[in-house]
């Protein structure tokens, strides 16, 4: 049996409010009696009557709030006193007449709730203000916006680091935190692989492939494409690696990044090794030195497969399309991509002229327009035009599934593909379509359904971007 008390000086509350708080606090297990009264003569008399105010405690003044708790033990009593504070200070605006209006600023939206992350996807000129407000409010930031200057990125990331917060971005397309996708993300199995990536579509491909290979993802943290620039110094990447190193659910680390400053890459890879967990690094286009203990790979598929195997999982074989290299015509590959990193990887595999690649997710195409993952119209136009190009014999595409993506990308691209092939046929040519669908069967669009739609049209559907690129190259006869 334990009696605890507390005085909140100069706190006027209506007695009905106090009775409600006392009643709600009495519900806690182990709590025997609760008294919450103003320190008026009446209030003090009530406490005396109930023997709830120890002789050694001060009497308080009429404007003081007196709280007393009798409980089975000290810990319970302390808990109950805190509960009284919570109940008294909780903002309980439920609004009798009309619902509360939507918050007008990120600062306001962050107030009074348990928010811990801000997803900012407003035009870049304004995104910096929202991101700084989020940091001021103690929130991590997922900064989807592009058009944020390098100086602003540095200021945001340094500030976040000082506050122990992460800024994912700018131009961060994807993250998966604790199984929850932010931005463009795929529904993948939870598991031991922790991912840090500068590229949104790179993370989507790797996480989807990990899932398809039988593995699972603990967290995938996006950093934005410039994080490994010398000026930024890998701030977010290093913070993320430290968090994943300390995270018990993460047993292997996977780093995905586009070309990076060798000095920064070196710092990042050394930091990864210090985590004392297996490390896979897919630094696309990076030919610098790699410290011992890092499994360096050159494709996203190899990154996924290596990580699954290092994390101790059995690697399931990816399925292969039948009769890959039969049929088709020699000529040039035209790669039309929604994912920038996928486009880079394919270009590297297929090679330069006569082959050609366009990344429709590049800033020049997305300024003031939705991303091609949401809106396929720009790429569809290019697909149809490729049907008229006598040099092109293979169309190489990615389709990206997941949350926030187009609800049925295969159906959206089908008419354009049919039209392109029809135009090629009228020109006496054969146009082969090679595609890779990024995603899983748990995605809202369903991987199987999307692949089937493409196959029904006669497209060759490959299980990874690497395989699609190699298949296209083989058909076109480049090597």
């Amino acid at each position: 049996m334990h009696l605890s008390w507390k005085i909140r000086p100069n706190s006027y509350f209506d007695s009905i409010d106090l009775m409600r708080v006392a009643e709600q606090t009495r519900q806690l297990a182990g709590v025997i009696e609760v008294a919450v009264v103003m320190g008026t003569p009446t209030g003090r008399a009530m406490l005396a009557e109930a023997a709830m105010w120890p002789a050694e405690a001060p009497e308080g003044t009429p404007s003081d709030l007196l709280v007393a708790v009798r409980a089975s033990g000290e810990v319970v009593a302390r808990h109950a006193l805190a509960r009284v504070d919570d109940l008294l200070s909780a903002g309980r605006d439920a609004g009798p007449a009309r619902a509360a209006p939507a918050p007008r600023t990120t600062a306001s939206a962050a107030r009074g709730g348990a928010a811990n992350v801000a997803l900012v996807a407003v035009p870049g000129d304004y995104a910096v203000l929202d991101a700084h407000q989020a940091l001021s409010s103690g929130l991590h930031v997922f900064l989807f916006s592009d058009g944020v200057s390098l100086d602003d990125e540095i200021a945001l990331k340094r500030r976040a680091r000082e506050r122990g917060l992460l800024v994912m971005g700018p131009e961060c397309g994807t993250a998966i935190i604790n199984g929850v996708g932010l931005g463009f993300a795929n529904r993948v199995r939870r598991g031991p692989i922790g991912i840090v990536g500068a590229s949104g579509t790179g993370i989507q491909e790797v996480t989807s492939l990990v899932h398809r290979l039988g593995g699972g993802v603990s967290h995938a943290i996006g950093t934005g494409g410039r994080d490994l620039h010398a000026a930024v110094g890998g701030i977010t990447t290093l913070q993320s690696l430290a968090r994943l190193a300390a995270d018990e659910s993460t047993r292997a680390l996977l780093i995905v990044s586009k070309p990076a400053s060798p000095a920064v890459a070196d710092v990042v890879l050394r930091a990864a090794v210090e985590a004392k967990k297996p490390v896979v690094a897919c630094l696309l286009g990076y030919d610098g030195r790699v410290p011992g203990g890092v499994h360096a790979v050159t494709t996203l598929e190899a990154a996924a497969a290596t990580a699954v195997s290092l994390a101790g999982g059995a690697v399931v074989e990816l399925e292969r399309p039948a009769g890959v290299t039969r049929g088709g015509a020699r000529g040039a590959v035209r790669g039309l991509y929604a994912g920038g990193t996928l486009c880079d990887e394919a270009r590297r595999i297929v090679g330069g002229a006569p082959h050609g690649f366009v990344d429709f997710g590049a800033e020049e195409f997305t300024r003031g327009r939705p991303h091609p993952i949401i809106d396929p119209s720009r790429r569809n136009t290019a697909i149809v035009e490729a049907g008229d190009d006598p040099t092109v014999s293979v169309l190489l595409l990615d389709l990206i599934l997941g949350d926030c993506a187009h609800p049925d990308p295969a159906a959206a691209v089908t008419p354009a593909l049919a039209e392109a092939r029809e135009r090629a046929r009228r020109g006496g040519r054969t146009l082969t379509v090679v595609a890779h669908v990024v995603g899983t069967d748990d995605d809202p669009q369903g991987l199987g359904r999307q692949e089937k739609t493409l196959r029904d049209l006669g497209a060759l559907v490959c299980a990874s971007n690497r395989r699609a690129a190699e298949t296209a190259r083989a058909i076109a006869g480049g090597a």
Binding site: S11, G91, A102, S136, G138, L139, D151, I177, R243
Partner: protein, 469 residues
């Protein structure tokens, strides 16, 4: 400061500034997502530079001082004895500094009345000549730890309320409220107005002072908290607070060594004046806000005041500079015989109540005032809720039953006003634009946007934010 969230362990709870689909995707995954009703902000770059550790910390200090204020009404004394810098030839007035030439009708009327009351002028013409010739010193009440409703005319022999802030140790002052009708604060200066002021000086002031000293003071933090829960917003609605104040003082007034008739007259006057408490509330807010002024780097507003010509604000981190713009004319209801063209532009220091989290900011808890300004209770709630968008915190003393006892929005942040374009909402009385007529109605008015834009510019120029990288 709260511990930083552990991103990888805590369940995600998101704020979304961006397209609906991002919020919808989170909700579909079972994550609570609060979406910002986002609109592009003017001066986004300048604003972004002001969201930084230094400003946040300064604002926390300033806000904490306002929230911690513990105001006690301790005394009533002649202004000459207690108001800092008061002299026999000083006339304090409401709002930012202003010269006689630019003063509005009601302001001039009140000053003429005050000069006659003090015996510094024989009649109206004499008083105007004196005022125009520089024979008296004009200065804002706000420069002297004082506040005055409407014209705010305060002179040496007027009795003033003395409010002590036990948290910070400072004091603030305000004259006694004269009631409604023909009163000096609205620019009326007829003999009956002057006669009442003399009665205040000779009888009421000393009596209230004695009663307060005997009672040991009245706890205003508690009293206002209670009044807010009784439907007052303590700017245009003061009935509950006035009644509570009389209740607290009546026993001491009854015990004063004055003729029974005089004691009865004092109590009857107090009981008949439903705005008795207004000046007390103003001094209480002034006492709470003054300690929050002068916090280096703070973007919180510590003063909003009007002189009938200009509206002015002061900002904690910007010293004693006023940021002014032309005062707007309130929208509202008129007494019989008056119409829109009769009203003077916004006037008075009473917007100190809004600055301190009362008045228009607490309108959602004062259903009766809503009728007065022609709105509905639901609209009043919306006014108050909108003010949360431009304030740094919530009162720990004043809680609104209509919002489930949420604290009133407190601590106007220049950054949020400029970003959202939401302007502080003020409930106010309306003065006739000509001297000597008095109150014509009551209504609502906004602080002008330009004041806040100018303050923002000054904040950036002062190098208060993060400098460009």
């Amino acid at each position: 400061m709260a511990p930083e969230p552990d991103l990888l362990r805590d369940p995600l709870v998101a704020v979304v500034a961006g397209p609906e689909l991002f919020a919808a995707a989170l909700v579909a995954q079972g994550v609570p997502a609060r979406r910002v009703d986002w609109q592009p902000a003017a001066q986004a770059g300048a604003l972004a530079s002001l969201w930084c550790e230094a400003v946040d910390a300064a604002n926390r200090v300033a806000l904490d001082r306002v929230l911690a204020a513990h105001q006690i009404l301790v005394d009533v004394r002649p202004a000459m004895e207690v108001v800092p810098g008061m002299t026999r030839d000083t006339v304090l007035h409401a709002g930012p500094p202003i010269a006689w030439e630019r003063m509005s009708g009601p302001m001039r009327g009140a000053i003429v009345g005050a000069l006659m009351y003090e015996g510094l002028a024989r009649d109206n013409d004499d008083a105007e000549r004196l005022a125009a010739s520089g024979g008296v010193r004009f200065d804002p009440c706000h420069h002297h730890a004082a506040v005055g409703p409407m014209a705010g005319a305060t002179t040496a022999s007027m009795p003033v309320l003395v409010v002590e802030n036990r948290f910070a140790g400072n004091r603030a002052y305000s004259t006694l409220n004269e009631g409604l009708g023909k009163v000096l604060r609205y620019g009326a200066n007829s003999p009956d107005v002057i006669e009442r002021l003399r009665w205040f000086r000779d009888v009421v002031g000393p009596a209230l002072g004695e009663a307060l000293r005997r009672s040991g003071g009245v706890d205003l933090r508690a009293l206002i908290g209670q009044a807010v829960q009784m439907g007052d917003e303590c700017h245009n609605r003061n009935r509950a607070a006035s009644a509570l104040l009389i209740k607290a003082l009546a026993p001491e007034i009854a015990a004063l060594e004055l003729p029974g008739k005089e004691r009865r007259r004092i109590l009857a006057f107090a009981a008949s004046n439903e705005h008795l408490f207004l000046n007390v509330a103003m001094a209480a807010c002034k006492a709470a806000l003054d300690p929050a002024h002068g916090v280096a780097g703070s973007t919180l507003v510590t003063t909003m005041a009007r002189n009938g010509t200009d509206f002015g604000i002061r900002v904690s981190g910007l010293g004693d500079r006023w940021f002014t713009a032309p005062a707007e004319t309130p929208r509202g209801l008129y007494f019989p015989g008056f119409a829109a063209g009769d009203a003077n532009p916004d006037i008075g220091d009473s917007a100190i109540t809004e600055t301190g989290g009362l008045g228009g900011f607490a309108m959602g808890g004062a259903p009766a005032i809503v009728q007065f300004v022609g709105g509905t209770p639901a609209e009043a709630l919306e006014y108050t809720r909108r003010m949360y968008e431009i304030t740094a915190g919530e009162s720990t003393a004043y809680r609104l039953p209509t919002l489930d006892f949420r604290g009133t929005p407190t601590g106007i942040d220049v950054r949020l006003v400029v970003q959202t374009g939401i302007l502080p909402q003020i409930t106010t009385g309306m003065a006739h634009r000509e001297a000597g007529v008095g109150q014509v109605g009551a209504g609502i008015v906004n602080a002008p946007r330009a004041c806040f834009e100018r303050a923002l510019e000054a904040l950036v120029q002062a190098g208060i934010g993060r400098s460009a990288a």
